[in-house]
Symmetry: C2
Subunit: 178 residues, 2 copies
């Protein structure tokens, strides 16, 4: 079955600090029309950083949409036009102070393909050296080191719910036999 | 460090067909104020359904925000107030025609905790019997059966990028030793 949807027109709905929303009129594969509401997003990065004792760096942040603290891998949004590798190294340094000697991709993630075009690039960072953190003005987080095997257990038990964290941790476990 | 953010006021920005956006003024842990833009979402479900030959049911859909076809597990949004287990069984039936004899949770997923409160419940379904599909009027998809081991390979290689699919497939692999 042909699946492609064609844009007929687009309307900017909201241009916020973080969210940029448009509403497009599209032609569906059967020739009828429908509306697609889209969150435009510059993309993001997340980093599974492991120290020399195979402990992962994890951050706890108050995630306002859930009204609770969520434990996640260090992560952040791309600046528009920023190289994802550079963004990952920047975010890791800002949130944890760590700079990696070894750095490799763990692939891409589509968090919410139904309504958002965000691509999260996932990375593994090792051979870490530590300096100072540099958080954004409205960013508050607690930093934790947790043995990687324990983090895997917390993912499998359901205690860790953040999508990028689940994906990066389990891909690393299976790809690298960690 | 205390991390909680307190809502001071809320403003409805957009009330769309799918997206519901609000902008809240919040008090940060240090007493200063900031703005949080939030996508309100009723929550979703996704189902890893395995047939008697251990083949997974996968759907291909045109995902308009990415302007491409994306391969994913069967999934859908909750109706407001709908029980997640019932929604998962409904969505699986609608998209694939399958009804499971065995049905269990694979945990919860937070796709985009920075700006959206969506919770996706993940399930494993087995012992399938097949009837007719019932797609929504504006829903077009192709259905595929793929050996579970091959699906795991496609997740690990990065070919599968959808967050809920990566999470459910790798959790099932490691939890159930599939």
């Amino acid at each position: 079955m042909e699946l492609t949807e064609k844009r007929l027109s687009t309307e900017q709905i909201f241009d916020g600090r973080i969210l940029h929303i448009r509403r497009d009129l599209v032609e569906l594969p059967d020739g009828t029309q429908s509306v697609r509401e889209v969150v435009d997003h510059p993309g993001g990065v997340c980093i599974l950083a492991l120290d020399e004792e195979n402990q992962a760096l994890l951050v706890s942040q108050f995630r306002y949409p859930y009204e609770r603290v969520v434990r996640e891998l260090p992560a952040g949004k791309l600046e528009y036009g920023e190289d994802p590798d550079a963004a990952a190294i920047r975010e890791l340094k800002e949130e944890t102070g760590a700079a990696p000697g070894e750095f490799r991709s763990l692939g891409e993630l589509y968090p919410s393909p139904g309504y958002c075009g965000e691509i999260i690039r996932m990375y593994l960072a090792r051979d870490l050296s530590f300096g100072e953190t540099h958080l954004d003005a409205d960013e508050f987080l607690n930093l934790e080191r947790i043995p990687f095997s324990q983090l895997v257990e917390q993912v499998l038990s359901g205690e860790i719910k953040d999508a990028k964290t689940i994906a990066a941790v389990l891909k690393a476990k299976l790809l690298l036999d960690l």
